[in-house]
Amino acid sequence: MVTATMMLWTEKYRPKNLDEVVDQREVVERVKEFVKRRNVPHMLFAGPPGTGKTSVALALAHELYGEYWRRNVLELNASDERGIQTVRERVKDYARTMPIGDVPFKIIILDEADNMTSDAQQALRRTMELYTRTCRFILIANYSSKIIEPIQSRCAVFRFQPLSNEDIAGRIKMIAENEGVNIDESGLKAILYVAEGDLRRAINTLQAAAALGVVNDKSVYRVVGRANPLEIKEMMELALNGEFIKAREKLRDLMVHYGLSGVDIVRQMHREVFSLTLPEHSKVKLIDKIGEINFRMIEGSDEEIQLSALLAYFALYGEELRDTG
């Protein structure tokens, strides 16, 4: 029998107010101060993924507006909007109406702001100034260095620290208990290992592993294995064995069916190189090539061609290896 609505645990256990936020004590204290004064400046939240940036922004909105929070908050995502032009249009439409309740401004949360080009950021800066009277911006980014100086200087900058294993473990245990999940010590350790300080990934891993029944190291790694397709390693091995055309087929499969971007693939290749059976000095050479191709993908226009060129190098090193012994 289904009682409560089922949802993803990352949302179910998202903090409802600032006190529930995991760690980030300094950030939370400062933000609370703004709430108390019913006034907030433009803000920039910078830090690694899964450390609570969006959660703090949403909790702040809850505390400021109470039940009206949805009507006073506009969430935008720089990587989903089609260019600065649409961002500007949506901000303009949104800023036209007055806020609901006793707070004299509305909030615009712009996620992944560091994905915007510097030209787009310049345009964003002008937009921010234009609507300063009625709107406050919360910009969210992984790297504050990728946000242009004029924007940084107009924002209160908050740096989010990677979460400690103790904090993540505490949260995971709480959720597991609440959901009646059977988790053992090995399962918890495995989750901490794969999460690398990212609470969102930790919770998603927990929920997916729970679908397998018991959460132990085996089920966690099974989930992670599926989440990081083995195909990437297989693709590299095919290329090393000189089966270039088959390797390229795998590549297409990853891009078209798994929907991985070229950058996703090249990063994962980087991680996986160390687990290949290759002499150590060849791994170093390949790392250099992977980096070069990653760079070229940023400059170029066709990721599949760049990755094919990379696979050709794998084929070359594979052959050298066979020649020498």
């Binding site: 993803l8 989903d80 929920q207 997916a208 070229r296």
Partner: protein, 419 residues
């Protein structure tokens, strides 16, 4: 039924001058030259009918032969290569009458097909034929303006043939369809005529290849002609590039193509590993393509199209210079990736729908939804139908999305039954 072996160009070949479409002025010029010649009046020794292919040059001579009751002796420029053949031709040209007592007309087709560098002798033999023949000699050519042909040209009455207009071609095609019992959409015939470029013969061949055995011909039926042309074009470009031994030839091969460069890039990318099987060739070829792609990226970000020539040179000359062995023939493939992308269009739109739903509910971008949520959701949907049905309701997913997430109909059904 063996009617399929009959080419419609032959089946519907005009029998009289009146049936020939287009080039009326050229035909009447030719007829008056021929009539004068037959009467022994002092006119040029030979007629040179020149113009684009498929407009009726050879046909004019064939119809003339039957109209004036002449024996047609037809030969090709390549027949003038060997001395033995030349002597036989000259012999027949200087005999007064044929065995049947008829006069003769001598046709040398495609004189410009003669290879000047190797075949100086062949051209001289043709000139000799024109000088010695007591029968009318007619030559045809697409382009007679090569300086080497000057001597020959001076001996000839030049008659120019032009492309036949689209309307005339359409009406001829309609007649054929009528005779074959095919109901053809005017737009389909217009399409064939348009792309023939005034070449009646190729228009008829195209019509036969798409309409044979059909009762009805629509625009859709003929569209693939264009596709076939593009494919042939790509094959030639690839062969041109991969067989070039110098930069200039490779660049020329690329520039001959009517395909856009992005499509060509895909063709080269697809077939490079088929052509280049040595690892050094593969590396060199892909290095050139990779560099070319960087220029394309720079063009896109700077909109500076003057960079295009570097990209094009790298994908032609750059790829060609990577070859280490003798060129060998390989069968080329259509770019698999383009096929894949069009096949998986629905797949991608369903996926996009799922990502949007996650993005909205979880306050993340679609990109993050794809990397940080989708893989975990897939595990849940595959293994735990109970939880999955709840999440599906929460995300407001339709059945296509659920099938996408489970990867199978059976597993999707287990979830759908609980909703």
């Amino acid at each position: 039924m063996n009617t399929s072996s009959i080419l419609w160009v032959n089946k519907y070949k005009p029998k009289s001058f009146e049936e020939i479409i287009g080039n009326y002025k050229a035909i009447s010029e030719f007829r008056s030259w021929l009539e004068n010649k037959l009467k022994g009046k002092a006119v040029k020794h030979a007629a040179l009918l020149w113009g684009p292919p498929g407009v009726g040059k050879t046909l004019t001579v064939e119809v003339a032969a039957s109209t004036y009751n002449l024996e047609l002796i037809q030969m090709n420029a390549s027949d003038f290569r060997t001395r033995y053949r030349v002597e036989r031709i000259l012999g027949r040209a200087s005999e007064t009458y044929s065995l049947l007592g008829r006069g003769r007309i001598i046709l040398v087709d495609e004189v410009d097909g003669i290879n000047m560098a190797e075949d100086r002798g062949g051209l001289n033999a043709i000139i000799k034929l024109v000088d010695l023949s007591i029968h009318p000699v007619v030559l045809t050519a697409n382009d007679p303006w090569n300086p080497n042909f000057r001597e020959l040209r001076e001996r000839c009455k030049l008659i120019k043939y032009s492309r036949v207009n689209v309307r005339s071609i359409v009406s001829f095609l309609r007649k054929i369809c009528l005779a074959e019992g095919i109901a053809a959409d005017p737009s389909a015939l217009k399409f064939i005529a348009d792309r023939s470029g005034g070449d009646v013969r190729s228009a008829i061949n195209d019509l036969q290849s798409v309409a044979f055995g059909k009762r009805r011909l629509t625009l859709e039926d003929v569209n693939w002609i264009a596709f076939r042309d593009r494919q042939l074009d790509a094959f030639e470009v690839l062969r041109g590039i991969f067989s070039s031994s110098n930069c200039r030839a490779a660049k020329a091969a690329l520039s001959r193509s009517t395909l856009d460069y992005n499509m060509l890039l895909q063709w080269i990318h697809e077939n490079l590993p088929l052509q280049y099987t040595l690892i050094e060739e593969l590396i060199g070829g892909y290095e050139a393509l990779s560099r070319a792609d960087i220029y394309f990226g720079r063009i896109r970000s700077s909109q500076d199209w003057s960079l295009l020539s570097y990209a094009l040179d790298l994908m032609s000359a750059g790829v060609a210079m990577a070859r280490r062995r003798k060129f060998r023939f390989v069968k080329y493939n259509f770019p698999e990736r383009i096929r894949l992308l069009s096949q998986t269009r629905t797949f991608r739109s369903v996926k996009n729908h799922v990502l949007s739903a996650i993005a909205k509910k979880c306050h993340v971008s679609k990109r993050i939804a794809g990397v940080e949520y989708l893989p975990f959701l897939k595990v849940i949907f595959e293994l735990d139908p109970e939880t999955a049905s709840g999440i599906a309701k929460w995300l407001d997913l339709d059945s296509a999305s659920i099938i996408f997430l489970t990867g199978s109909y059976d597993k999707a059904e287990r979830i759908l039954l609980r909703m």
